[in-house]
């Protein structure tokens, strides 16, 4: 007597195939760790000694092969493998909203107008790993001030790139695109917040957010939006991708690095520095205590 419908048979066969396929794919992917080519050198970049940390730099190879960039794929190795599917020229960055001088920039115009300096920052990912990265960039405040923000500019919203050629955009990544981020205006104007255009003195590799990205070192890495195309100054708090995700189960708008507030699924008290084995203690604001005054009146357990 037959009790199993045909669909079960078929699924069982799929399941066997899936197992074998996944193992093979996994093995191939593990062996073929993408070799990342070095990009063109950036001219005239000098280190800013005010923003140097006395810690070992994370190797270029790790910074460029271990990325979260869902538009280029959800696994850590995907963005470097699929980097070529992102086209960074021509590229424009549009600044709109509560500004006296809105402007649509060509990326090369930005590179010319805002000379980059080197700043070594710690990067703390929400997934409890961290790196030390020599970014090349310029203060976000300088860029924003050029557009003369009005008194109604209370927040800054960032929108990142969506190109049909990017594999994550075509498939299912679990989050909607474009990826949205946001900062309060005083956060955006803080001297630590920069727009980065390079790392290790070279043009940003695509998987690290070329041609221009945000770096906010006292917040979890996902706040530092990659490959930015639109910046909008506005009066209300903008929706951001992860704070909206599944009714807010991931993180709130602020997402400041905070060892006392756990992720729903893991502790944030410690982190693993890429290249090390034992976890180290996570520091409040990722060690950038100079930003504490921005949140003096706030309960950071509530606004996490």
């Amino acid at each position: 007597m037959q009790i199993t419908p045909k669909s079960l048979y078929l699924r069982r066969r799929d399941f066997l195939k899936l197992g074998a396929g996944a193992t093979l794919l996994g093995s191939a992917a593990a062996l073929a760790r993408t070799k990342v080519d070095h990009g063109p050198k950036l001219a005239g970049v000098k280190p800013n000694p005010k923003y140097a940390v006395d810690e070992k730099l994370t190797p270029f190879e790790d910074i460029t092969t271990y990325n979260n960039f869902y538009e280029l794929g959800t696994d850590k190795g995907d963005p470097s493998e699929n980097a070529a599917t992102l086209k960074t020229r021509p590229w424009t960055v549009e600044v709109t909203g509560e500004v006296g001088k809105p402007k649509k920039w060509d990326i090369d115009e930005i590179l010319k107008a805002f000379p980059a300096e080197e700043r070594i920052y710690r990067l703390r990912c929400v997934e409890a790993w961290s790196m030390v990265i020599p970014w090349d960039g310029f203060p976000l405040a300088d860029f924003l001030k050029k557009h003369e923000p009005t008194s109604r500019a209370k927040y800054v919203a960032f929108e990142t790139v969506v190109q049909p050629s990017m594999p994550g955009v075509k498939g299912y990544a679990g989050i909607p695109f474009p990826y949205l981020e946001g900062l309060r205006i005083d956060e955006a104007m803080h001297p630590l917040a920069i727009l980065a255009v390079g790392l290790y003195g070279e043009q940003l590799p695509n998987q690290d957010g070329a041609p221009i990205r945000l770096v906010v070192p006292w917040k979890y890495g996902f706040k530092s939006a990659k490959s930015i195309v639109k910046i909008r100054l506005q009066e209300t708090q903008p929706p951001t991708t992860w704070s909206q995700y599944a009714g807010g189960v991931e993180y709130g708008f602020y997402a400041n690095v905070n060892p006392d507030v756990d992720h729903p699924r893991w502790s944030q008290a410690k982190e693993r520095r890429i290249g090390e084995i034992l976890r180290r203690k996570t520091l409040m604001f990722n060690g950038y205590s100079e930003v504490a005054p921005l949140y003096a009146a706030m309960d950071l357990k509530k606004f996490y």
Binding site: Y9, R11, A22, L278
Partner: protein
């Protein structure tokens, strides 16, 4: 071929461990090796759990007898990889920090589900021998080993929660698990009907 099914399965079950060892000695695991090893071991454990659970349905559906002969072996290997997975978490990932681990288990469903799965597999692995089957009596032994279905469930949700967004692959594996469990439900129902 059929006589050699047990040694063949044994060799196959060793392949992932050897493969991990070869990678460790040659190309390495990339920027975050502990995470990669931890996740690979978890994945292997899950696949072996699914394969162990597939033996009985294979017999029911295809009338094959050989899968049952390697079921114990698959289950034992599943537990072996589960132990390596747990050891990687406790040792490499958490640095044997008991305080942190206890907090992690109690506070986070994701870790709790993984730990529960291992705790359920433990008595099953211990009592997987013929001797224990006799000692417990087949009825009681069988009842105890039904725990593996619960483990299949907790393992699935542990796997699902690992990612920030649900992955298609995980959902497919959960569907596989569900089908395997469903086969038994249908079979039990069928037997009841036949008996009455």
């Amino acid at each position: 071929m059929k006589e050699r099914i047990v040694p063949i399965a044994f060799a196959a079950c060793c392949v992932p461990a050897i493969w991990l060892g070869v990678q460790a000695l040659t190309v390495g695991f990339g920027a975050d090796p502990i995470a990669v090893v931890l996740n690979d071991l978890g994945y292997i454990t899950f696949v072996l759990l699914a394969l162990t659970l597939a033996c009985t349905p294979a017999q029911i559906v295809f009338k094959w007898s050989w899968p049952i002969r390697i079921r114990k072996l698959l289950g034992d290997f599943c537990f072996f990889y589960a132990c390596l997975h747990l050891l990687t978490y406790v040792g490499l990932d958490q640095g044997f920090d008991v305080h942190d681990i206890v907090k992690d288990v109690l506070k986070h469903k994701f870790i709790m589900l993984g730990m529960l799965t291992w705790l359920m597999l433990l008595p099953l692995a211990i009592t997987s021998t013929k001797g224990w089957q006799k000692r417990l009596g087949f009825r009681r032994w069988k009842r105890l080993h039904r725990l593996v279905y619960v483990a299949g469930g907790t393992a699935s949700f542990h796997f699902l929660l690992r990612f920030k967004t649900p992955r298609v692959e995980t959902l497919l594996w959960m569907a596989v698990m569900a089908v395997l469990l469903l086969t038994r439900v249908i079979e039990t129902a069928r037997r009841r009907v036949l008996q009455s």
